[in-house]
Amino acid sequence: MKKFLVCILCLVMALSVVACGGESETKSEGENAGTAQEGGKPSQAGSDTVNSLAGVTLEVAVNYTGDSLTAFQQICSAFESVYGATIVIDNYGSDYSSTMINRMAANNLPDVFVTAGWSLRRYKDYSLDLSDQEYCKDYDESALGVIQDTDGKIYVCMVSNGVNGNVVNLSVCEAAGVDPFAITTWDEFLDACAKIKAAGFTPIASNPDAGLTSNLAGTFLTYKGEVANVGEALKNGTWDWEEYMYLLKFYQTALKSEYFFKDARSINTNDMYERMAAGQAAFIISENTASIATLYSLNPNGNFTFAPFPASKAGGEEAVVSGEGDAFSIWKDSKNIDAAKVFLNYLATPEVSLKLLDATSRVSCQKATMAVDETPGTKALAVMQNNYKGHNIGYYNIWDREYLPSGMWAYMGTACNKLFADYTDSGLRAVIDFLRDGYKNVYVAE
């Protein structure tokens, strides 16, 4: 029994050490010295900036994991070694949103934090106006559409866009005799699915997720030349969700025709990527450019491309949507506002932001960086633009961030699950009722 208890205690201690290592991290200068070069020294860091922030500790909250977290840690280490500041990284991972909600409720935010797509709808009241910063003058138009408030203010330093569309397995399409670059409407997409299924593949690898019911909704409801145009009603809270049936009917056809995996309702995201990479499926609906890098890491010999969302009818606009990617705000009540501004300026320099983009596979959004950006996300987008030359593609802000109140994303996720569970006509009606009620709830709460 004694031996057994000793074994158990040793294991518990070992696991505790490992577990504790993953949370909040503070690096001493000694630890930083070796990694300074990896993060890249900013071009404007002259002799007057060296150790100019000695003694300052910045708390930075992020939601990075894996390679993205490693890259961000290296960037912070390099910043520390140049400016002499200490950066404490709060890595909340998948608990980021809930932790930040608690910190907002307590009005006690980190000095710098990732906005994860919500710089305006959720974090604006807690964020410092950064409109006067140099990097704000360098934003591409596509970025300004995402982060600029109606009064022209900008509350975020955004070094990249998160770009969303469909992902295509070209090898599967070729084997099934489908030309994915000829697809312009969702009806043509369904025709391609029929051919792919007939060739023995599963057409769509997606699992039920808010992205499926939200990110492409604009191609039915709000973009130019689509089957409905309800943008205004959505924004002023008067929409009754009836036109949403167009999108639900599209999924009803796909589900009835068994274009998804039989166990689509319970596939997790890793499994979805694995099946797509293994050549079992042809499309994933609503993915960002980063998933191309994930698929190639799972199958280096695969052939994948990024694609725009098709239009709801001929003559409608295909779409690529983008939202905040790597974007950082400063807490307006931070005691280290000046140091935080220096940190964000450092992040915005092309050589530093490219290090981050290389890991996150997002797409640069500042003109200076865009001119030299050859990271995977930007490449995927460039390849798409080349493959879909001649298509009528619109570039829009991510749909829910533009048209829906904060809190609606979870309703969209639940709605997608409901849809996959019951795609009969009465099931579709239940989804619409659910979304209408949810929209009413969060619109009032907001």
């Binding site: 029994m1 031996k3 057994f4 074994c7 158990i8 294991l11 518990v12 696991l15 949103s97 809930s98 930040m100 909600i101 608690n102 907002m104 409720a105 009005n107 959720r122 009241d125 039920p208 995996f261 039989k262 166990d263 309702r265 319970s266 596939i267 997790n268 499994d271 099946r275 079992q280 904060s406 809190g407 994303w409 979870a410 309703y411 996720g413 639940t414 699950n417 409901k418 996959f420 569970a421 019951d422 949810g438 709830n441 969060v442 009032v444 709460a445 907001e446």
Partner: protein
């Protein structure tokens, strides 16, 4: 003199009283207060709406599904874990080569996060290429979509949690078995009692304290089940395997409806009280005398 002594004792109790009020009564009171507001969880403004949240919860089908699942998890896991833990404790209480390794192996999953164990077990149950279905196919049978329905997913979560975490129950029973006085068992054997009668009339009755501890601890832990559901079934399909803790978290942090989530939490609190009071009364009436 007596009054002075009482005051002195009260002073000694003060730190504990402060802790209980600050860490127990205040959060519960605050949650109850939040239940009367329409609040997104982070805004500095809260809108008083009286009992509206509580009324809405009672008409929410997801609440009733989650309540049903929570009760299934709580009682199902407690029963299965106790049966398994007891059987394993009897097994590893015997002397045999490699006993320590087997004990450690059974206990090991308890120390690993439920979230990670759920991720690992996902690859056992998945329809397409899952380990169980691969075995069925090898045996010439049709693969089974284990998590096709909410009830199916709930049972999968229940069994997985019970099998993975039965090590802690085993440990409690093992300690109980090792505390049974040897002379009692020896005298029974001298009186000609069979192994079965020895177990039924001596070992099991004397294991009652361990059983009470195990039932109470497992019931509390199973009411709070969260992480393994998140990674194994995600609460799906269509909320069919969601527990109340997961539902509260979804409403609070996902839907930004903190007031509504607090109302569910308070109803959950009362459900636990209603269930635990008779159980507690029954268990405390059971006494073991040597």
């Amino acid at each position: 003199m007596q009054k002075k002594l009482d005051r002195k004792y009260l002073l000694f109790m003060l730190p504990a009283i402060i802790m209980v009020v600050a860490l127990r009564f205040f959060p519960i009171g605050n949650a109850l207060r939040m239940g009367f507001f329409d609040w997104n969880g982070y805004s500095q403004d809260m809108n008083f709406i009286g009992l509206d949240n509580f009324k809405e919860v009672l008409g929410d089908s997801y609440f009733w599904i989650a309540l049903r699942n929570t009760l299934i998890y709580a009682f199902g896991i407690t029963i299965v874990k106790n049966i398994l833990g007891l059987a394993l404790a009897f097994f590893v209480n015997n002397k045999f080569r490699g006993r320590s390794v087997i004990r450690a192996t059974i206990y090991l999953p308890v120390m690993i996060s439920g979230f990670i164990m759920g991720q690992i077990m996902y690859y056992f149950y998945q329809y397409n290429g899952g380990i169980f279905n691969e075995i069925l196919i090898k045996l010439g049978m049709e693969p089974v979509y284990w998590m096709e329905t909410g009830l199916g997913a709930t049972i999968i979560v229940l069994l997985t949690t019970s099998f993975l975490h039965c090590g802690s129950t085993m440990l409690l029973y093992l300690a109980g078995l090792q505390n049974i006085p040897h002379e009692l068992l020896e005298s029974a054997r001298l009186d000609g009692a069979s192994k079965w009668k020895e177990t039924l009339h001596i070992t099991l009755p004397l294991l009652q304290p361990s059983m009470i501890t195990s039932v109470v601890l497992n019931l509390i832990a199973s009411f709070k089940i969260y992480d393994i559901i998140t990674s194994l079934s995600g609460g799906g399909p269509d909320g069919g395997s969601t527990s109340l803790t997961l539902l509260i978290s979804r409403y609070y942090f996902g839907y930004n409806r903190a007031g509504y989530a607090a109302a569910i939490a308070m109803l959950f609190f009362f459900v636990i009280i209603i269930i635990s009071m008779p159980i507690n009364k029954w268990l405390s009436s059971r006494k073991v005398e040597y």
